[in-house]
């Protein structure tokens, strides 16, 4: 077994064994989808077209799930691992940093993929939501979401100093961003809020989910959205590369 596969297995074990991360990262978006799905009825208008509410919510929750898993969840776990001294300890082993990061990223990809599958299965069974037919584009979307939000997650982890504050800080960023980006339903907001949403990566990521899932278009039909999501991810990764430290900040 290669060191990468070994570390990926370890990451999966660590993730699923930790009840907080499994509930917060994996279960919570699924639960939110069930809750919102039972509240909304009828149709939601996206760009002058009416879609079944369950489909729009499912699309929004895929967006929220990507940001929750790869941005908030990853950042929290990186900050905690740094502050506990786990990263420092790992650095004294022969495990290469690139292999480690690759395994952490792939682990997030596995978690998010399972989440997307669960959302579609649940949407189908509980709300008769449509199934996607652009499977290739959907796969690309999942990978793009994890990689870009992981870039943001690593950048944020580099800027957050304390382990205790990490979860609060990230949720203060994540929840308003998700709300403004339309992750929880309609996007019918006043112009000011819409203007803010128009710079957020999650808004463009959800645009892509709409395109691929609701409009059944290939992902590359919206290059602007791909560009904005990627730019945020690259920006985060650059901050991470410059500022991320392996050693605890607080001690």
């Amino acid at each position: 077994m290669t060191v990468f596969a070994h570390q990926l297995r370890a990451e999966q074990l660590i993730f699923w064994r930790n009840r907080e991360s499994a509930v917060f990262v994996f279960i919570f978006p699924v639960l939110l989808f069930v809750l919102l799905g039972s509240l909304y009825d009828g149709e939601i208008t996206i760009g002058n077209v009416d879609y079944p509410a369950s489909d729009v919510l499912l699309a929004g929750m895929i967006g929220y799930g990507a940001a929750n898993t790869a941005f908030a969840g990853l950042a929290i776990s990186l900050v905690l691992r740094r502050e506990y001294g786990i990263l420092k300890r790992l650095r004294a082993t022969p495990l290469p940093a690139v292999t480690y990061l690759g395994a952490v990223l792939t682990s997030s990809l596995i978690v998010f993929s399972l989440q997307v599958l669960t959302l579609f299965a649940l949407g189908r069974l509980a709300y008769d939501a449509a199934l996607p037919d652009r499977i290739g584009s959907l796969l690309l979307l999942v990978v793009l979401g994890v990689v870009a939000f992981a870039g943001l997650g690593i950048g944020s982890a580099a800027l957050i100093r304390s382990g205790e504050g990490a979860s609060a800080v990230l949720n203060v960023i994540l929840l308003p961003m998700a709300f403004l980006s339309g992750a929880f339903g309609s996007r019918d907001y006043p112009a000011v809020l819409e203007a803010i949403a128009n710079v957020l990566p999650l808004k463009y990521f959800i645009d892509l989910v709409y395109a691929v899932y609701l409009e059944r278009e290939p992902i590359w039909d919206d290059p602007l959205a791909i560009a904005v999501v990627s730019a945020w991810g690259i920006g985060g990764a650059i901050v991470g590369a410059r500022r991320f430290g392996w050693e605890p900040r607080e001690r």
Binding site: I14, R17, Y84, I86, R89, T93, P94, L95
Partner: protein
């Protein structure tokens, strides 16, 4: 064979000179102790040798490598026990050992290592259920699972109760029996005296004394003579034990007195250490 060679090592943190040009060598198979109070530069020195920190001056060679480069081939050869670290609370002792074993080309058998550090009973226990002493033993276990040639122990028994400390000492002795080189930092003198083949006493970033514990004690030459006179405890400190003792006993014999509770105590490493810390 030299495992560690340090020449004129300098490390500054801003204005503070944490390490001021120290030099020492550690032979293969030796247990070497860095002794000194908090802030003397022990951890800084060890972390430079482990590769965590870059030095500001001097030459350092560890197992033939420059540790500052953190090459994987170097990291395969060392085992590290940090002063403080927590691992994944929900994983089991055996799982964590297996994870670390997977990083090394020729790891030791996981169960064997768990047995060596005395955690066989706790093999399937989650880390969050371990006591402080058991966690330190886990730290040692994962430092040994890669079968390193050199083990760094940074204050391995700080916060231990006396029984746990004795257990930890047994472990370090077993490392010596395995032929490992050990670099140990401690601020406990009895620990250095018990475990180290040689010690370097650090004060304010400089080595003020180095040698085998017995040598350091002998070099002090100080001793104490205690006896009681008319129920009163008398303590005589002397640098010339034979002469002083001869005078005391000669006088007593001449006067036909008994020196009640006569006791002669040689200096311990602690006395030597306190002496070193005193003369600024």
């Amino acid at each position: 064979m030299t495992a560690i060679s340090v020449r004129g090592l300098v490390k500054n943190y801003g204005e503070i000179e944490a390490v001021r040009g120290i030099s020492f060598e550690v032979a293969v198979g030796e247990v070497f102790g860095l002794l000194g109070p908090n802030g003397a530069g022990k951890t800084t020195t060890v972390e430079i040798l482990e590769g965590y920190r870059q030095r500001d001056g001097g030459d350092v060679e560890v197992l033939g490598f420059d540790p500052g480069r953190m090459e994987p081939s170097f990291r395969r050869l060392i085992g590290v026990v940090l002063q403080t670290s927590e691992l994944w609370a929900n994983l089991k002792v055996r799982e964590v050992h297996r994870i670390f074993a997977g990083y090394y080309p020729h790891p030791r058998a996981v169960d064997e290592v768990i047995e060596l550090v005395g955690l066989t009973q706790k093999r399937d226990a989650r880390l969050k259920t371990l006591s402080g002493g058991q966690k330190r033993r886990l730290d040692l276990g994962i430092a040994l699972v890669g079968d390193p040639d050199l083990v760094f122990l940074d204050e391995p028994t700080t916060g231990f109760d006396p029984a746990a400390r004795r257990n930890a000492w047994e472990l370090v002795r077993s490392l010596r029996a395995l032929g490992k080189t050990v670099l140990l930092t401690t601020h406990y003198l009895d620990e250095a005296q018990q475990l180290a083949d040689r010690v370097a006493v650090l004060r304010a970033g400089e080595i003020v004394k180095m040698g085998r514990p017995e040598e350091l004690i002998a070099s002090s030459g100080r001793a104490e003579i205690r006896y009681r006179r008319n129920g009163e405890q008398i303590v005589v400190e002397t640098g010339e034990l034979t002469r002083t003792l001869h005078e005391l006993t000669g006088q007593a014999v001449a006067e036909g007195r008994e020196l009640d509770g006569l006791e002669v105590r040689r200096a311990t490493l602690e006395d030597v250490y306190l002496e070193l810390m005193e003369d600024e």
